[in-house]
Each structure stands twice: as C-alpha cells, then as structure tokens.
C-alpha cells in the first residue's frame, strides 16, 4: 500500500471530523474569538490605545456604574415583557380564534419591520412628548424621556419580531387537547390558560428571552430617548466610549464584557427553551392557519375590534404621524391639523432628500451591504441547518451551539470584538471598509436566520434523500432537486426579512462605518441630530415603501418559482 493511498484512506475515514473541525474553526473565529478579545482587551486598553500594558484600572475605575447596569437590565426586562405580553395576546387571538381580519392584522403588524430606526423613535417622541397626541389622551402623566418611556417605545418596536416567532407555534397547537378541555366543560379562557399557554410555554419563553437579549444590546432607543435625559445603558456607554471624544477604549471594553456576561445566561436559557419547543414552523405564507376556537359573533367582533385598536395605536397612528410629518414644511403639532393652523402640505421634504446626494450614497452602500450579507447569511444558515440536521458530520452539536453564540454578544459587543479582531489581531485591510460591516452583519444575524431555516430543513423526509442517493444523484444534484424546492418558500421569506432588517441596521453600522462609506441608518441619525423632522419622516416613508415593494417583488418571484 503506498503512502498516498494510506493518507487518502485516513482522510476518507476521518472526513467527517476534518470537515466538522474546519467548520468549527471558521465559526469559532467569528464567534468565540470576538468574545475572548473583548474580554481580554478590557485588561489592556487605555484611553485611545487599544493595546497597552496590562491593567486592572479599567475594571476598578472606568466601567459602567451600577446605575447603568441597573438601567440596562430594567430596560431590557421591561421592554421584553411588554413585547411578549402584546405579541402572545395578538398571536393567540389571530391564530387560535376565528376573529375576522386576522390575516390583515398579522400582515399589518408584520409590515412594521419596514419602519426604519431613528424615524420610529422620533415619531414616538412626537406622540408621547409633552404635547403629543397619546400624552393628551392618557389619563395620567407620562414622560417619554424616562425608563418607562424607553420600554414602551422599544417594547412596541419588537412586537412584529416576537409575533413572527409566536404565530407558527400558536397556529400548530394540537387541537385535540383543547377540544377535550372544552368537551369537559372548560370555557375558552380556562382552556387557554390551562391547555394552550402551558403547551406553548417553552416557545413563549424562548421568544421572551430572544427579545430580552436583543434589547440588552439595543442602541436606537437609548440613543434617541435615553441620552437627552441622561439615562444611559451599557450599549450607549459602549457607543460613547468608542465614538465620542475623549475615546475611552478601556471603559468601552469593560462595558462590552459586562454586557456579554449579562447576555450569556439569557442566551443559555434561550437555547435551552428553544430545544424544548421541538418542531418549529417557518416564516412563510403557509405558516398562517385558520383558527380552531369558534367564538360567537359578539366576542369575536369585540376581540377583533380590540386587536384593531392595538394595531391602530402601535402602527397606524405612528405611520400616519410619520406621513403627516413628511408632507409638512416644518414640525407641527397634531392638533394644528384640526384647528386651522396647518400651513398647507408640501412635497418639499421628499424632493430635498431625493436631490440630496448623501441620501443616494448611503442608500446604495446599505443596499450593497444588506444585499450581500442577506445572500451569504441565508446560504450559511441553509448549510449549517443541513449539517446539524441531515449530515453525519462530527461535532454537530458544537457547531449548532457556536452558530447561535453571536446572539449572546449583542450587536455593540460584536462590533467591539470585530474592531480588535481586524485591526490588531488580523489586520487584513478590511477595517474602515464596507467589508467589515458585511462580515459583522453575517455573524450577528446568522443565529436568527438559522432559527427560521432549520425547521424547514428538519422537515425534509430522509427517505427522499436516500431515494435520490440510490438513484445515483450526487450531493449537488440532491441539494438542487430536493432540498432547494422544498425550502425555497422559507428562503424567500427569510431573505426578504433579513434584507429589510439589515438595510436599516443601526448599531453595527454606527460603530463600524467610516466617514467615506456612509450607511443608511447612521445617515438617518445625522438627520435626527440636525433636527430635520420633515426630511427624516420623508426618509421613513420612502424606506418603508421601498422595502414593501422589494418584499412583494420577492414574494411574487417566489410564488412564480413554486408554481
């Protein structure tokens, strides 16, 4: 036996471990390494120097105060709780009852994902500000520039995401248990409380934990609402430490580490609860199923009316307010619309942003970054889902865990880690370019994409693949003729969602973009800083409209492919 043959044999026999190991290595580079360097640099950073001498001073003096950590935790818990309560209620009403217009409500709330950052917060400041419409209607004093104000704005913002996760679970609850309860005399609320919700408890908890970990690293609401009133959270401290003068890397990396330490247990619980949910559904048109609980005429219209009321408060009035702002020559109070003080409408804000070259520059760069990242992240999610669920590769469980790890890092901590990774450890020339932004997008949003793609891959019958193998189909052909047709609807849905999200992503863009490569969300932040509310609102309408058109177009392409 020749040496070459022996090596080939060894390679064949260890192929599973070699490929598995390679994937682990790549994943570790983008997940574990940023965490380790963030922790490590917190002992070496000093002022503007990323790497100086070893010091404990950053931990002893420079890190966030206990008040800021408290704010961070309270903000995250409050927002996640509000989001989950609203989303569970709406998901139950739409998916488990026969209320009219359920599909309309679902897609209307889903459309909220198209609304861009900064604009959203500005609109809510208008609504909940001192002379805001909601403030006037509330029977008690409410200050939007407060922790509860931040929770409300963040909590409502995350409802669509939570609803997207919960809807398939609610739609697929085993009817027989609920029917048994009702046959035994259980009323609807009793059945919901005793049967439906306990069945869905792991899924609801997982959705809660996901919104919690997202909020821990959220920057938009703290930046727009917390900062003016001096209410800081860890994510804001990190942003200020890295971007504002005087630069304080030591403090930023300590805060980044604290944020990771807070998020890691949440991530662990999330992953554990996710495991308990068992079979997941996909975010696609087919995920929506008709309701099994037959409410009588009165309650079902009452319930539908209440959901419509929530939808109006959460989405319709804010969008109308945004549109109103976009066609006004300057910011005007909403009562002015009705008391004759309105000066007349104008399209000037739209013309101003459309004739502004910075708008197109930022939009083009974001289109490019979001487009590339969406394609790569969906492809990577399909690959990893296949490996974890359908392949015989070694280290599958570890690959599964590592691919979810970026969730625990939060966007700001990940951006910090990437600064060190591509500036100090591997200075390969991508820092300061759009490439590092794309890489960070991919890393950060891989877990959530896998979360959607994996169930579709999981559901493919092994017999189909075995039959194809027996028929002589190679790996590529199996993927092309079996895997792709079966998951194409899911891919369209998640690619659209991911693109819509990344096109207006804020924290990573703000921390990693350079002055020469402007991105859309930071550009919106600039408009916000200039106080150009009409133009900001016009941008909000244009971005939401663009994303809506893109989504419909991709959906149509997907439908024609399927047919």
């Amino acid at each position: 036996m020749s040496v070459n043959t022996s090596i080939k044999d060894q390679f064949r026999s260890n192929r599973s471990k070699i490929y598995g190991g390679l994937i682990l290595f790549v994943l570790s580079f983008f997940t574990i390494l940023p965490i380790l360097v963030t922790i490590g640099i917190s002992f070496f950073a000093d002022g503007i120097d990323l790497v100086s001498e070893f010091t404990l001073n950053n931990w002893l003096e420079a890190g966030a105060s206990s008040e800021i950590i408290f704010n961070t935790v309270v903000f995250a818990i409050g927002s996640a709780t509000l989001t989950t309560v609203i989303a569970v209620f709406i998901a139950w009403a739409i998916a488990r009852t026969n209320i009219p217009f359920g599909r309309v409500y679902y897609y209307s709330i889903f459309s909220m994902i198209f609304l861009p950052p900064i604009v959203w917060e500005s609109v809510w400041i208008r609504l909940l500000g001192r002379n805001g419409l909601y403030t006037a209607l509330l029977p008690f004093n409410f200050d939007v520039y407060s922790l509860p104000g931040m929770m409300v704005v963040q909590g409502v913002f995350l409802v669509p995401l939570c609803l997207i996760i919960l809807m398939p679970m609610f739609a697929n609850v085993d009817n027989s248990l609920e029917e048994a309860s009702r046959v035994s005399g259980g009323k609807i609320l009793y059945t919901t409380r005793k049967i439906t919700l306990p069945l869905l408890k792991p899924g609801i908890l997982a959705a809660y934990l996901l919104t919690l970990v997202i909020t821990l690293g959220s920057l938009r609401v703290p930046l727009m609402i917390g900062q003016p009133e001096g209410i800081s959270v860890l994510a804001l401290q990190i942003y200020n430490g890295v971007n504002e003068f005087p630069i304080e890397y030591g403090a930023a990396f300590v805060d980044g580490t604290i944020l990771i330490l807070v998020a890691l247990p949440v991530f662990y619980l999330y992953k554990r609860e996710l495991g308990k949910t068992g079979k997941f559904e996909t975010v696609s048109g087919s995920a929506f199923k008709q309701a099994p609980i037959e409410l009588s005429r009165g309650p079902r219209y009452a319930l539908s009316g209440f959901i419509a009321f929530l939808l109006t408060i959460m989405a319709i009035i804010p969008v109308v307010t945004m549109f109103y702002g976009s066609i006004s020559p300057y910011p005007i109070t909403i009562p002015a619309l009705f008391n004759g003080e309105h000066p007349g409408f104008t399209a000037q804000p739209y013309l101003d942003v459309l004739y502004n070259r910075s708008t197109w520059s930022a939009a083009w760069n974001s289109l490019l970054a979001a487009g590339i990242a969406s394609v790569v992240v969906v492809a990577a999610a399909v690959g990893i889902s296949w490996i974890v669920n359908k392949s015989d590769l070694a280290y599958k469980r570890t690959i599964d865990y590592l691919s979810f790890l970026p969730l625990a890092m939060t966007s700001v901590s990940l951006a910090l880690g990437f600064i060190v990774l591509f500036l100090v450890i591997f200075p390969i020339g991508i820092y300061g370019t759009i490439a590092i932004v794309i890489l960070a997008y991919i890393t950060r949003f891989l877990p959530a994409t896998i979360r959607v793609v994996a169930p579709s891959v999981q559901q493919i019958q092994n017999e189909l693949l075995e039959a194809a193998t027996i028929s002589g189909a190679g790996r590529v052909r199996r993927v092309r003729t079996i895997l792709m047709p079966l998951i194409i609807a899911t891919i369209h849905a998640i690619a659209t969602y991911r693109f819509a999200f990344l096109f207006k992503e804020l924290p990573i863009s703000l921390l990693l973009q350079s002055a020469n490569v402007p991105l859309l969300a930071p550009f919106l932040f600039e408009l916000g800083v200039q106080g150009n509310y009409p133009q900001l609102s016009a941008m909000g309408i244009l971005i939401a409209g663009f994303l809506l058109v893109v989504t419909i177009a991709i959906h149509q392409i997907g439908s024609s492919n399927l047919s």
Partner: protein
C-alpha cells in the same frame, strides 16, 4: 496599537477577504491609499477667486460640519466641479470626532467646519494646516473689533493664517408664537416659574451662558445663581440647533435659549409660528473652517477653505438655513426678519472664544452647579 493605525499608511483597502469589488462603494475614497492621488485634473480654473488657479483638484472632499451645508455644497460643487461628501454631526462633534480619529491616525476627513468654541482641540494638537489666504481676505474675515485678539487669548497664538471664519453665530431666544404670548426679552425672564419645563437648550452652550451671566451680573455668585435657577426650571438639554427648533415647533418646548439666530430663518420663510429675540448681553461665535494637515486631499481642501472665505463663498454661506450671517465685512444676515431683530437689539455682542483652560474651568463649574456634563 492604535485603532485604524495601519489604514491610510498601507493604502490597502479591501484586503484578502470580501473586499474585492467593495472598495468602489459610493463615497469610498479609501482605495487610493493616502488619498492624495485621486485627483483627476478637473480643476477648471475657478480658483481665481481663491488664488489657486490651475491647481489640480480632487474629485471629492469629505467635510465634517455641524450646521446645514446645502447652499455652500451646491455653490462650491457648481463652482469647482469637486463633490462634497458632507457628514453633519451635532454640537462640537465635528472637532471632537475628528480629534478622536486623528489620535487613532485615521485621516478620512478633508475639512472640518465647526464652532470656534471647540476649535482649541484642533489647535492644541497643531492639526490645522495653513490655508494660504490673501491678506485682504484675512482682513475682511477678521474685521470685528477684538475678534482676532480673543482668539489669540484663547488659543495662545495668531490663527488667522490657519482658520477661516465662515459665518458668525449670535445667541438668541427662539420661541413658538402660538405658545408664547409675551416675548421674554431678558435673561431673568426665563428663570421665572412660568417657564418651567418649557425651555430647551444645548448642554455645551451652558458654558458660554455662564460667561454671559458673569458679564450681565455684578458678581460671580449672582451669575452662578442664575445658572442654578435656570436649571431648576427643568430645561431639556438637546443636541443640535435644528433639533431645538423642531422641539419648539412640535410643542415639546416653547422656547429655545441661546440658539443661533439663523435657525429661525428657514422655518420663518416656511410660515412657521416662530420669532426670535436677541437678549442683552449675548455672545458671538464664529463657525470656522479648518483643514487638517493630514487631509487626504490637502490642496483641494485648502482650495475649498479659501473659496468659503471669498466673496463668492460668503454669498453661499449667507444662504445657509434660509439666512445666516457671513463672517466677511459688509455682509448682513441673509434673512430680513432676523436681521431686523438683530438691529432692534442694538448691542455689540461679546466675542466668546474658548481655549483649553477656559473650557476646563467652565465645564467643571457648570458640572458642579447643575451636574451637567458639557462634553455630551
């Protein structure tokens, strides 16, 4: 190692991973390494007004500013053929952010247009380059009595060859006429309890207001008490002049204190229910153009700075935000109503320019008095 240190020195952009084809993104001028080689020779001889005819101009300049820049951008692009990539930041951020990048040896920005009161952070580090202004231009741009001396006191040396005054900013009260029936005309007016939770201002301007109060009152104690009384009215500390006007128009607040008069111009033209008053005493500040020595397109940046100081550039500056006050002699507000209000106030503004020692002292005092961090 400092962040971004290797950038620009190496000229490597894109690198081995994912960079191929991406460096050509809109506005990405990084691909030229040190950035000086991307001029395409489209200088069209328009530098006549700025004394640099025949210079080979770069395609694009990156500008940090904190005020609306549309009219200047449009006029300069039309005049020179050079595109401006304008990044608008709040308050003192153009200077502060540039310094933080400079300290990391990241040199993406060609021009910094910002308020004089934070310009000391550039001069302290010897960042600005000489822009080679004509003596006549220097004389006309620095024509206000005591202006050059105030700068020299603050910075420690004569900076007239280096910094180009762009427009002058005079502090005013801007208020919503629908919400304010009786115009507040003095500083004392806005410390009354009827103004509680109705005022916004920018945090960093409290430093200058304290100076004004020291000029206004007989004793330091009285001046400091005014700051405390003002803060007791729970003013909202916002960042950015435009943000404050938005806040007043949208009903969040009724009055914006110590805001530059030019911020009223555009909205008044649109018919917004705004008016302004210049209380006595008030301060005058200059927006200045500085060109960092490490600007990637240094010569073009200098050309731009000279152009802004020229009569042609000052006309464009006069149109900023619907009507601003250019620095050059002979120019008034580019807005009749604002000019009228300034004429009515009939006062000579106090030139406020700040150096490091002043900044440290006043920042600390304001923080001690009302717990406000002026670096935000």
């Amino acid at each position: 190692m400092k962040r971004r240190q290797y950038l620009r020195n190496s000229g490597i952009v894109g690198g081995a991973l994912l960079s191929t084809g991406l460096a050509g993104c809109t506005g990405d001028g990084n691909g030229n390494g040190n950035g000086n080689g991307n001029g395409n020779g489209n200088g069209n001889g328009n530098g006549g007004t700025t004394g640099s005819a025949g210079d080979e101009l770069a395609d694009e300049l990156t500008v940090y500013t904190n005020i609306p820049f549309d009219s200047v951008q449009e006029a300069y692009e039309s005049s020179s053929g050079v595109d401006l990539n304008v990044v608008t930041l709040g308050g003192p951020q153009p200077n502060l952010q540039y310094v933080s990048e400079w300290e990391q040896e990241q040199y993406d920005v060609d021009v910094i247009a910002s308020l004089d009161t934070s310009t000391w952070v550039l001069h302290e580090r010897d960042i600005p380059a000489e822009v080679e202004l004509d003596q006549e231009d220097i004389d006309e741009l620095w024509h206000h009595d005591g202006m050059a001396e105030a700068w020299e006191d603050a910075i420690g040396h004569d900076i007239r060859e280096v910094s180009v005054p762009h427009i002058n900013q005079i502090g005013s009260f801007i208020y919503n006429t629908n919400a304010v029936s009786e115009t507040p005309t003095t500083w004392d007016d806005i410390t009354g309890s009827d103004w509680e939770s109705r005022i916004c201002t920018q945090p960093f301007t409290m430093d200058y207001v304290l100076r004004l109060m020291e000029a206004h009152f007989d004793t330091v104690e009285e001046a400091e008490q005014w700051i405390v009384d003002f803060d007791d009215n729970s003013p909202q500390y916002l960042s950015g002049g435009g943000t404050m006007v938005d806040s007043v128009l949208s009903g969040e607040n009724d009055l914006s204190a110590y805001i530059w008069g030019m911020y009223a111009s555009g909205p008044i033209d649109e018919g917004a229910p705004l008016d302004l008053h210049f209380p006595e005493p008030t301060g005058m500040h200059s927006q200045v153009i500085n060109v960092p020595q490490e600007a990637p397109n240094l010569e073009t940046a200098k050309h731009f700075a000279r152009w802004v100081g020229s009569a042609e550039g000052q006309e464009a500056s006069q149109a900023i935000n619907g009507g601003a006050l250019p620095a050059r002699e002979g120019f008034g507000y580019g807005h009749d109503h604002v000019q009228q209000r300034w004429d009515e106030s009939d006062q000579t503004p106090i030139t406020i320019t700040i150096g490091r020692e002043d900044a440290d002292e006043y920042n600390e005092r304001v923080e001690d008095l009302i717990g406000l961090d002026l670096t935000s």
